[in-house]
Symmetry: C3
Subunit: 176 residues, 3 copies
């Protein structure tokens, strides 16, 4: 069965066409490199408006049945940055380990990594993960957390994801 | 004075008798190895039902006066995993450092450690700590966080815990 | 433009005059060593009362327009320790990376670092950061997180902070 993955770029300027959305494209390219099982993208570019972010996440989770939804943008301390708040509002249960590991990973490169407010959580059967805004940091963070995602989706009874292990080493613990 | 420690195994299958509760027993054995001061266990095996988990924690804290309550199970992303939510609901104040350190510790062994949603918190005079579900990970996590627990209980004016320092090195900062 | 920094010592005993507030003074001395751009301190010593802590933070943020507010004390597990709860209550958006990094930093010195419940967050245009209670730990934590603070305040359109780079290496990512 095909995996459905939602990609949400949250950016006032990209959504207004002021500049091209390089971040969302970087995510799609990275997933294309990772995944060898079939997958379909649902891709949206929206402004930094909390209600629009929430509505987009809800639609991708509940109506489009995306097993994984990743966001880029809106996780910093600027006034318009509200992606983590939207994520917490739509999720039933939070996954603090994702934000912790991404910040720790980014801290290897820049001390300002602690300003990133990224989080992750579960809405019903969908995993929602906030990624940073810059293409370079997106790849660093995805490389850090993606090894745990296919097993997480297994536990949530979502379609099996198979990855190219020359690109990313996914881990699935053996059954007891 | 004797320490009272609550041990809660949260598992649909163990509570239905489908299999033996190895995890709760692993906790009791580990505490027996650690502690040389007297202690008493209050041990329960219950299903993954949030209201039952909460009621059990409340009873152990408020009625049985356990200074420490540890749980095992129910911290993953599966639909029935709600132990962290129950913990947050019954606690007045959270202790984020426990979950952070346990995930960091488990990350040395498996990249799926970030899927663990373990937390810890304080309900009145009781410290509640979520441990993972598997005996091997339980020991790794207890070895990581237990050195801070006796001093935490001192600050909460609970019975003094003394540990076998050949087994676990507990730390108590000197008074100012 | 001058930076305004609020320093709040939260301590029943220091506020009652039982002992001198060494912690608040340690923060002021450290900031004096760090900063070469002009700044003004708003300094208060208050008891561990959640409503007083909240009112003090609100006044410093909304009326005195402090761009940065740091607290010391009240972040442990003792019954009277409620500084993190007050911080969460007055903040619109949380910054989990600060507490994570400070605990990680303190863990290099003492295993009881996980007992610290320090957090940070944003109230409108002010950044609020909880520091530990002891002067030695305050300096360790400030040295760890301060490199990210001036850029955070830039993003919040607050006065530019310039630091003595022989004392602290501040980081500002280059504009895209």
């Amino acid at each position: 069965m095909k995996s459905k993955i939602g990609i949400i770029t949250v950016s006032d300027r990209a959504s207004a066409g002021v500049y091209d959305d390089l971040s969302g494209k970087a995510i799609i390219e990275t997933l294309d490199e990772y995944l060898i099982s079939p997958w379909e993208e649902i891709y949206k570019v929206i402004p930094d408006e909390q209600d629009i972010i929430e509505a987009t996440m809800i639609e991708m989770a509940d109506e489009q049945n995306c097993s994984l939804i990743v966001t880029t943008g809106g996780t910093g301390p600027s006034k318009r940055d509200v992606t983590p708040e939207a994520t917490e509002n739509v999720c039933d249960r939070m996954m603090p380990g994702f934000g912790e590991l991404m910040r720790q990973e980014s801290l290897k490169f820049v001390p300002t990594a602690i300003l990133s407010r990224q989080t992750a959580g579960l809405r019903k059967d969908s995993l929602i993960v906030n990624l940073p805004g810059k293409p370079k940091s997106i790849r660093e963070c995805l490389d850090a957390v993606f090894p745990a995602i296919p097993y997480c989706l297994d536990l949530m009874e979502q379609p099996f994801m198979e990855c190219d292990e020359k690109v990313i080493k996914v881990f699935r613990p053996k059954a007891k």
